[in-house]
Amino acid sequence: MNPLRRFLRTPEAVAGVVLLGALIAMALIAPLLFPGDPQAIAGPALLPPFNDWSLPLGTDRLGRDVLAELFHGARTSLAVGLAAAAAALAIGSVVGTLAGFAGGLVDEVLMRITDAFQTVPSFLLALAFVSVVGPSLGVVVAAIALGTWTGPARIARAEVLSIRERDYVASARAIGMHPLEIAFREVLPNALPPVLAMSSVIVAAAILTEAALSFLGLGDPNRVTWGGMIAEGRAVLRTAPFLSIVPGIALVLTVLGVYLTGEGIVETTAVRRGLS
C-alpha cells in the first residue's frame, strides 16, 4: 500500500489535512479577497456577526472588518509558526549534530548550553526577549525559536550518536572526508526524520506562543494577529463576546489541524517502518 493512501485512511489525519489546507488557503487568498489594509475602518463599530452580509463576521471596536482581520491573521499565524519552526529545527539539528558527532568537550559545552536554555520556560524566554528588543515580526520569530530549538537539538544528538558508529560513516572517514563534511552530508540527513517528526508540535507551539505574545501586547502592532484580536476583544467581552470567540476558534482549529497532520505523518512513517 502506498504511504499516501495509508495516510488518508486515518480519519484524524484527513481532518488535520483539511483544517490545515483551509488555513493555508485562507492565508493565500487573503490579499485577493480583502485587498488593502485589513485594519482599515470598514463600517460602524461593534456590528454583531451575521447582520450585514458585506461584513459577515461583524466589526470590532473601531469598525474594522473581523472577517478580513481573521484572514490576514491567518497569514501572520502561519508565517510565524512556519518560520519559527524552521529556525528552531535548523538551529537544533546543527547544534545536535555537532555535539553528537564531535563528542568530548564540544558535546559537553553544547549540551550544557542546551540544558541552560531548557531550564528557562520557553514562553518566559520569548517574553523577556521581545520586551527587551521590541516587538516586530522578525523578533517574535527569533524569540520563539530561541525557546524551542533545544528539543530538536537533543533528538538530533541522540540520533547522531547511533549513526556515527555505522559502517558508512566509518568508510567516509576512511576515504579521508573532512569531519564537518561527514557530519553534515552523511550523518545529518539520516538523523533528520525523527527531528522533522517534531515539527508539527513546534509549529503548533509557535502559533500559540505568538498568539500569547500578541495577547499581552508584545506582537507586531502593525499586523493583524489572532492573539491581538482576542486581547482587543477582551475589553468588551461581556458586550461583544464574538470579538474574542471568533479568533479563538480559528486558533484552536489551526493548532488542531497542524497537530493532527503531524500525528498522521508520524503514524504513517511508523507503520511503514514496522512493516519493512
Binding site: G134, P221, R238, T239
Partner: protein, 536 residues
C-alpha cells in the same frame, strides 16, 4: 457631554418611576445620610508611595485623599470654585508676594497631636516645593512661610506669583502632612509614606499587597457627624473586566475611574440596582493629544501639522473610541474649564481633501505606492482609549498618504522613548488639565525643558513668541489680564500646532443605588468622602 445627557435621561426616567410610587418616603430617605457601614470599591492600581504631598497624582489621591487633607477642595458652587478644608480662608496680597491662609481650629492629626500652621509651613517648604512633582513648578518662588500664630500661615514669594494660580493649585497640590512625623529622617524614606497619617475623615488601616487597602473611621474628625462610613475597603481588581462582574455580584458597591470599560456601560446601566454616573470628575480632565517630534523635517512644517489635524475626525474619535463619553477639543484648554477656555481659536474640521492639498503644497507628493513618507507612531499604553486612538490615527494618516508604523511599549519604555530618547515622530499622550494652564499645560509647548521630564515638550518645539507669552502670563498678577493672556496662548497653540488636541475626557463611576452623596464635587473620586454614606 453626551455621556451626561444619557445618564440624566435615565436618572429622570428612574426618578419619575420612583415618584409615582413612594415620593415622600424616597426624598426623606435621600436627605438623611445613614451612619455606619462599609464601602467596598474597586482599585485598579496599587501605588507604593501613598504620600499625596510628594506624589500628586490621581492614583495616589484616590486612596490617600481620605486620609490626608488639602487646604481647600474643588467645589461646584463655592467662590472661585473652592470649598474650605484645612484652610478657612485665603487672601492674596496685591503685589503677588504673599498669600495668607487662616486655618481651621480644633483639627487633630490621627495620632492625637494638634494640627497647626507649623505643619503647613513644613509641608510647603520641605515637601511641596522641593519634592512634589507639580509643586516644583507652582511653588518654585516660595521663599518662606511665616506662622505668626498657630492658625495663620503666610506664604512669602521671592517673585510676584499670581494668586489665581495658587488658588487653582490648592485642591491638588496642598496636601498637608504632619511635621512631627516627617521632621525625623529623610522625607522620602519615612514609613508614613506607606501608611499615611493625616487629618482626614478616615485613618489608614492596613494594606495587603494584591488584595486590599482598608481605611477606618476617624472618630475625632473635625466635620460635624462626619464621616458617615465606618470603613472603606479598596479591593484590588487589576483586570478591567472583573470590576463589572464584581458590581453585579454585589461584591463591590462602587467602581470609580472608569474601572468598568466604556463598552460595558450601556449594558450595566440596565442592571437593576446599579447607576452610571459621569459627573464628579470635572476637575480631572484628561486630554487626548498627538505629540509631535519637531526634529523630523516633515513635521517641522506647519502645513504638515495642519494636514494631520484636518485628517483626524474628532467626532468619530469621540463617538467610537470614547463611545460618546468625551468631548472634541479645540485647543490646549478643555471646554469644561470655567475660567480660561475660549472657543475663538483656529479650528481644523475633518477634511481629507484639504489635508492632501496641504501636503502637496508642502512639497510631499504621493509616491507611486500612494505614500508620501513614513512616521513612527507611539501610542501611550496607559489607557485602552489611547491605544485605540493610535490604531485609528494610523488609519487616518493612511488616508492622506502618511504611512504610520505603530510601536507599542509598556509604560516605562514609552516614557523613556518619548520623553528621554525622543525616539518618536508622533506619540499619543493623555496629559491632565489641572484647573490652570500654568500647572501642567504650558510645559507641553514651552521650550528649554531638560530631557527626561515626562509630560512636557520633548518634541524639540521652539517658538519664541509663545515662550514670551507663557513667561508674561506667569508674572501677570491681575486675574483678568492673566486669563486673557491664556486665551491668547490657546489661539497661538491652535494656530501653530506644536501638538494636536483631539478630545477631552474624564471618568465614569458605576455604583450601587445605596451609595449616597456621589459626585458632589468636581474632584469627587479624589476628595475626602466625609459625607459619603450607605443607605439601606
Amino acid at each position: 457631554m453626551s455621556g451626561f445627557t444619557i445618564s440624566r435621561r435615565k436618572m429622570l426616567a428612574g426618578s419619575a418611576m420612583l415618584l409615582a410610587s413612594t415620593a415622600m418616603q424616597i426624598s426623606g430617605w435621600a436627605q438623611t445620610p445613614k451612619k455606619g457601614g462599609r464601602l467596598v470599591l474597586a482599585a485598579d492600581s496599587e501605588p507604593r508611595n501613598l504620600n499625596p504631598a510628594i506624589v500628586a497624582s490621581n492614583g495616589v489621591f484616590f486612596i490617600s485623599s481620605k486620609i490626608v487633607e488639602t487646604l481647600a477642595e474643588a467645589s461646584f458652587d463655592g467662590k472661585d470654585g473652592l470649598a474650605p478644608r484645612l484652610a478657612l480662608s485665603w487672601e492674596g496680597a496685591p503685589d503677588g508676594l504673599s498669600v495668607t491662609f487662616k486655618l481651621r481650629d480644633g483639627v487633630k492629626w490621627h495620632d492625637g497631636k494638634p494640627f497647626t500652621s507649623a505643619d503647613v509651613a513644613f509641608s510647603a517648604l520641605q515637601i511641596w516645593k522641593p519634592l512634589q512633582n507639580l509643586g516644583r513648578t507652582v511653588f518654585k518662588d516660595l521663599a518662606a512661610v511665616e506662622t505668626p500664630d498657630d492658625l495663620t500661615a503666610i506664604f512669602k514669594f521671592a517673585k510676584p506669583t499670581p494668586f489665581q494660580l495658587i488658588r487653582n493649585a490648592l485642591p491638588a497640590l496642598s496636601s498637608v502632612v504632619p511635621k512631627h512625623i516627617y521632621e525625623v529622617g529623610k522625607i522620602e524614606d519615612n514609613p508614613a509614606n506607606n501608611a499615611p497619617i493625616g487629618t482626614g475623615p478616615f485613618k489608614f488601616g492596613e494594606y495587603k499587597a494584591g488584595q486590599y487597602y482598608r481605611l477606618t473611621k476617624n472618630t475625632d474628625y473635625w466635620g460635624k457627624d462626619e464621616p458617615y462610613l465606618d470603613e472603606i475597603i479598596y479591593q484590588v481588581l487589576p483586570d478591567r473586566t472583573s470590576a463589572a462582574s464584581a458590581l453585579e455580584a454585589e461584591e463591590i458597591q462602587l467602581a470609580a475611574f472608569s474601572a468598568v470599560p466604556l463598552a460595558d456601560l450601556d449594558r450595566i446601566s440596565k442592571v437593576p440596582g446599579l447607576k452610571v454616573i459621569s459627573k464628579g470628575y470635572e476637575g480631572l480632565t484628561y486630554q487626548l493629544v498627538v505629540e509631535i517630534n519637531h526634529r523630523r523635517k516633515e513635521l517641522a512644517d506647519v502645513k504638515v501639522r495642519q494636514a494631520i489635524a484636518h485628517a483626524i475626525d474628532k467626532d468619530f474619535v469621540v463617538k467610537t473610541v470614547f463611545l460618546g463619553y468625551a468631548a472634541t477639543a479645540t485647543g490646549p484648554v478643555p471646554k469644561n474649564d470655567p475660567q480660561f477656555y475660549t472657543a475663538d481659536v483656529p479650528t481644523y474640521p475633518f477634511d481629507v481633501a484639504k489635508a492632501n492639498a496641504l501636503l502637496d503644497e508642502a512639497g510631499y507628493k504621493k509616491g507611486p505606492d500612494g505614500k508620501r513618507f513614513t512616521l513612527k507612531l507611539l501610542p501611550a499604553p496607559y489607557f485602552n482609549e489611547t491605544k485605540q486612538f493610535g490604531d485609528y490615527l494610523r488609519q487616518a494618516l493612511a488616508a492622506i498618504g502618511i504611512d504610520a508604523e505603530l510601536v507599542n511599549n509598556d509604560s516605562a519604555a514609552h516614557i523613556k522613548a518619548v520623553y528621554t530618547d525622543h525616539a518618536f515622530d508622533l506619540a499619543v499622550g493623555p496629559p491632565v488639565f489641572r484647573g490652570d494652564p500654568a500647572i501642567s499645560t504650558t510645559i507641553l509647548v514651552q521650550s528649554g525643558i531638560p530631557d527626561g521630564v515626562p509630560f512636557s515638550n520633548q518634541g524639540g518645539y521652539k517658538n519664541d513668541a509663545l515662550d514670551a507669552l507663557i513667561a508674561r502670563a506667569s508674572e501677570t498678577l491681575d486675574t483678568s489680564a492673566r486669563t486673557d493672556l491664556y486665551k491668547e496662548f490657546q489661539k497661538e497653540v491652535a494656530a501653530d500646532l506644536p501638538l494636536i488636541n483631539v478630545a477631552e475626557w474624564s471618568f465614569i463611576s458605576v455604583a450601587r443605588d445605596t451609595v449616597g452623596n456621589i459626585a458632589n464635587n468636581p474632584r469627587w473620586a479624589v476628595s475626602n468622602w466625609a459625607d459619603t454614606y450607605l443607605a439601606g
